[in-house]
Amino acid sequence: MKLSIRSLLTSMVAALVVSTTPVRAEDTIKVGVLHSLSGTMAISETTLKDTMLMLIDEQNKKGGLLGKKLEPVVVDPASNWPLFAEKARELLAKDKVAAVFGCWTSVSRKSVLPVFEELNGLLFYPVQYEGEESSKNVFYTGAAPNQQAIPAVDYLMNDLGVKRWVLAGTDYVYPRTTNKILEAYLKAKGVAEADIMINYTPFGHSDWQSIVSDIKKFGSAGKKTAVVSTINGDANVPFYKELGNQGVSAADIPVVAFSVGEEELSGIDTKPLVGHLAAWNYFMSIDDAANAAAIKTWHTFIKNDKRTFNDPMEAHVIGFNMWVKAVEKAGSTDPAAVQKAIIGVETPNLTGGISKMLPNHHITKPVLIGEIQANGQFETVWKTEGLVPGDAWSDFLPDSKIIEADWTEALNCGNYNTVTKKCSGQNYK
């Protein structure tokens, strides 16, 4: 019996361990990849691990960096927040990686933040998030709220004439902060308290009957209603299914989602969803040469031409290219030198523009609104003119309006209060 349990365990461990390409040359530059390959978040993060392996592979084909080969170091934090911190420490202290690309949820980022600041590592974080943070050691290549949520609300308000708002989200930090910003923004635009409905649900919520019925009731008051959804991950599928079953179509009450991308749609029967919206900085359907090339490389690398390419993957492409440029500019992988060199670095994104790393460690991005199509792709129906610079501290919250982040010599602070003229000691809140 002991034997059979042991063999079970070994096969489990075997399944968990991911083989890394063992380039054991004397001189390699190590790049850490910190994405969950098991547990709840594996659904989203495994793809990002593969994206990083692809990017490193491509860079090595081009001759590596500073004459050295890049070597990926992949660890599995298993969707376990404290384990993220441990694995980050392992990458920085033991493997001595030059930079880390990783994390998905905000809570995992908050968990590794002290480690990166203590050991002065570099983290490239590729997912849209709630803002209100700017660390010396983190580069936020995903969207800040002003690069996703605010433009989406503008679109609904101006182009669709939406007057009543449902802010529906999963109960954790990203939806709560985003909704706080959106609520302040809507009120500033003259929307009455009675025309805003806020609803939070637990992670993985699967019984949406009464909430959808409430939304229906809220939307039947004669004013155009829209749902702004920060519902996370898995809970979206039963939510959309229930909307379809209760006969709420996108033409009546459109749902604009901030966490539903091509990857998530590949697990849904999209017929009842056609016409619902998503706001991102990238869509796989974008007609652009760089995008087509990236998708082709991805399909060759993953050996499956059905796989989707999504927004956080694009963020990793931009982040990785920025890091490469900064290392070349600095002539070294030393974190302090790269931190200095990377500000102002420009690199093409996959939607036909040039993204730039800003002094607040966020980047410039276009904002796109897409309608879900029956084939699981998005059709762009609106986009911003030019690129929007990421704003770390929201201008719509009274407390953070007065905070500024600037990591150039001028300020060198991620949390600078313009009223008291003080840099609060910590780099994060």
Binding site: Q209, S210, N245, E263
Partner: protein, 544 residues
Amino acid sequence: MLSALTPGLLWRRLFALCLLLVTQQIAAADAELPLAALQGLDFKAKSAAITAIAESGSPRAVTVLNALLDGRLLMRKADSRMVIVANSDAKPAISDALDGSDLGSEELVNLKKVVINNQLRLVLRGALARLGLANPDRAARLAAVESLAADDAPGTRAALTEALPNEHDEGVRRAMEVVLALGDIADADEAKRLAAVKTVSGSMLGEVRNRLAPLVAKDAEGKPLEPSMDVRVAASAAIREIDDRRAHYELVQTIFFGLSLGFVLVLAATGLAITFGVMGVINMAHGEMMMLGAYTTYVVQQAFPAHIEQSLFIAIPAAFLVAGGVGIVIERGIVRFLYGRPLETLLATFGVSLFLQQVVRSVFSPLNRAVATPEWMSGQLLIGDALALTWNRLYIIVFSALVFVALLALLRFTSLGLHVRAVAQNRAMARAMGVRAGWVDALTFGLGSGVAGLAGVALSQLTNVGPNLGQSYIIDSFMVVVFGGVGNLWGTLVAGLSLGIANKFLEPFAGAVLAKILVLVFIILFIQKWPRGLFPQRGRAAEG
């Protein structure tokens, strides 16, 4: 050249010329449908084109607009001809949009879809509803009238007024009159307003209450906006009636929501009620048995892509066998060595659950899989004029009840059931009577797992099919079994239903998060007072 012009050839040429003229004429007649304007990204032009098509009076208008709404209207890239595809295959059969003639089939890559957005969908639906007023089907006419209630496009009123005298069905006439009266509610003439309010009162159409509301509203100084007393009284009476009926419907709906959640919980927990309740095995891998059932549904649908409508009927026995088989393997392989050591059973089955999740991740990828919902399970059943119950939930309630009854019958009336109960009550005595206890254990565990597999088939219609499916239900399942009383199937039923209904009644007041917490706190307190649950087992069996 001229010498080659024999009489026969001349005739043929003349004939061809005539044919050309005739076809051109047909094309000219069809060109009234401005299909070309639908191409491109100018949505204003598209909207105008849709209205023009709707008002053209062409017999093809409804077909073309429906195809556009469903995304089946495409342009053949080779000759810019507008075609309608029959299905979403890679090489669908196509027909001409203008005359409906069969054009064979074409690769999807050679076709370009006509893109529409939400505004256009609204315009399309309005146009189709106006056209639908002439539909011979009564239900379609009624739906068309009702969807026109909130449509203030200029043609709507005229279309309704025109259709009203030709309408013979009483219900449809009444709906038409209500929708027409809605337009008069804001009329300047008091008598007209009063008549309109009288006409619409009693109708449960969603738009009615919205239009009545301004009649009873007051301005900032508390003075009523509506000058006429009679209109105000009539309007407030009508609103009160609507609100009363809505409250009544809402109560029924909440009970239905509660029952459907309850039956999902019961379905998820019955399997556990057998493995945990009857056998006393703390089976942490129970959720993964549901996951296997859901994946079996996915595999069945992949194997028979042409039979999505019937796939669930194959999936039900398949899921039972797959999950039951895995259950027997787990029992024979692991659990039977650990009887009487609950802590070790818990840890071992927890390990099995992690193992199964990772196996699924490796085999099917960590991404969720799309399980299609058959047509007969989508949509909702309309009862009266405001109560809507979703079909998928109704079917799951029925399915869950059937599984429960079947299980009860199996335990009560079959020899396997007798043996299971005998072994659960007194293992030593049962063995002394010649019952092969080990074999019964394996079958019981397999039965519990198989029922969990059935729950998985149902869950595949409600939620994600992914490696984490089981985890989200395991806690709830244990909660139901413990609350109901370990070892009692009726307890599981009552516990599941009452938790479901309690949850749904709390949700509107407390929100989904707090409702869940309140239910948990209640169960903790309940277990403190009655540790054996709602229906505790009595007698000597309870001691073991």
